[in-house]
Amino acid sequence: MQKVQLTAPGPKTDFDSDYQRYWEEMPCYLSVHDPDFRIIDGNRRFREAFGERIGQFCYEVYKGRDEICPNCPVEATFADGQNHPSEQLLTTQDGREVPVMVHTTAITDDAGEVVAVMEMHTDIGEVKRLQALLQRSQERLVQLFEEVPCFITVQGPDRVIQHANRKFRETFGDPVGENCFKMYKHRDEQCLVCPMQQTFDDGQAREHEEVLFTKTGEKLSALCTTAPLRNAEGEVEAVIEMSIDITQIRELQSQLASIGLLVGSISHGIKGLLTGLDGGIYMVNSGFAKDKPERIEKGWEMVQRNVERIRSMVLDILYYAKDRELVVEDVDLTALVSEIRAGIEKKASDADTEVRISLAEDTGVFAGDPQAIRAMLLNLLENSLDACRMDKDKGDHWIRLDVRREQPWMLVEVEDNGLGMDQETREKIFSLFFSSKGIKGTGLGLFISNKIVDKHGGTIELDSEPGRGTRFLVRLPLDAKPSIQPEDEN
């Protein structure tokens, strides 16, 4: 151990002994190191924590090591005379680990040479504990943000998404840096009414319902809430938006509404049919009273036609209500068409409409539900007949049914030169409860026909123009397995 002469020797004074006491009582570990890294002095706290270790190497005393520590701050201070603050972990003589903040000071002789380095270790155990606590709670916050079962984004004043949680990323894709309207509305510009903007403008929270589009193009109904995020000055710096998926609730609501509509639509339809029946009965009765056989005949036809309509309406309702599963067997369309031919021809002649049936000699068989396909055919044909009956602009009306096999499809074409449909009607024609027939329609027939074709794995193509007429082209797959699972009722 090297003897270090700090100052020129002189008589001890009270001043010296005061400083000796302050040194002793400093609330940290103080030690002085010689250039060999031996400890040549230490204060009371040092001695209490590390024992009487004067003369030993500092790395032994503080860390229990055999050699100098890497990045030793004492070594660095010997080299440049500067303070080298660092964090270290010390081990006391009873084995306790103490995290400390270390500062070093060069002690120079009269010639200005660094002859020793004083090291001050401040216990930062409490700070470390608080830091760990802070980190844990931050992690917990991040975890909460990430795992909350709703969509969360934080957006800046430029409508750019700064953060998004996991559920959002999974559903809409990674949005950071993207615009909100692009990300989940698939729009090119800001929405007309933007609750985010409103929250930025007035700092108030907003609640609104939106239809969002996922990254796979699926539609979601969401209840969105926006809230301001303010900086230290109280200005709105960003807005957080939290959205809850309420698609299922909305679907349930629309199902309930459908049931309401069904009831309304049925009673509506029944009223129309009752008027027809009333009319038929009136004409039969008055025909008898006035002895007018033509009128009786006409009235009786009306009664029959309306009874038939009630029958098919009830079948449609049952089909809708039960969401009937397909009963798959071999379907022979040639035979099926022959069966319904007579009925359709009778109805058509009552409506002064010509029926043109073109049926391939042998269409063979394919897998399907004959009853469902029969219902679908009748619905399409009756729809065409109605379109002719309601069209008063043309003199000669016809409906055409063409059945042929064209690999890989069985093709069924139903065409008429009746009223035809405008674009709005064409777009809605397969919707539930949509009817263009006024009081006579329930809006079930074509909805169900479309569903039947869909369940068979086929498609319906529609071609129609007002005044010209309508053509339905049904494609039923010859070798596809029809889905026999009951469908979700949406």
């Binding site: 309304g264 009136y282 008055s286």
Partner: protein, 136 residues
């Protein structure tokens, strides 16, 4: 067709209801003409000169309510009694109200008949309206 016959125009797209109402009203001594579309009805007005028009609220193309508004706005026909015949269910009532609401200042129908049409009510409505506007 005697002098006493009153002219009723039926605007209705359902052929059964057209047949029924025309037979019935002719039996009751009215002179009847029919149209299945608003545009046809509009063209027939000058020739037939109806004294009352029965309009089905749901007609293809233009709604019967549009026909009502267009006749009301035509000075020649603004006082003509118009009766709307409807399925009379809630949806239709709402539609009717919102439609009329959007045409402020236009007088609503002079009568509304629900389907199935009650013959006695129909006759009563026609008698009242025709007496009111053109007393014998």
């Amino acid at each position: 067709m005697g002098e006493a016959e009153r002219r009723v125009l039926i605007v209705e797209d359902d052929p059964d209801i057209v047949d029924y109402l025309s037979f019935f009203l002719e039996d009751e001594g009215y002179e009847v003409s029919t149209a299945s579309r608003c545009s046809t009805a509009r063209k027939m007005m000058d020739d037939f000169r109806p004294e009352v028009v029965l309009i089905d609220a749901l007609l293809p193309g233009k709604s019967g309510l549009e026909l009502l508004v267009s006749l009301r706005r035509d000075p020649q026909w603004s006082e003509l009694p118009l009766v709307v015949v409807t399925g009379n269910d809630k949806i239709l009532e709402d539609d009717c109200q919102s439609y009329m609401g959007a045409h402020e200042g236009v007088r609503g129908p002079d009568g509304v008949l629900g389907k199935p049409v009650d013959r006695a009510t129909l006759l009563a409505v026609l008698r009242t309206l025709l007496n009111d506007t053109k007393p014998n």
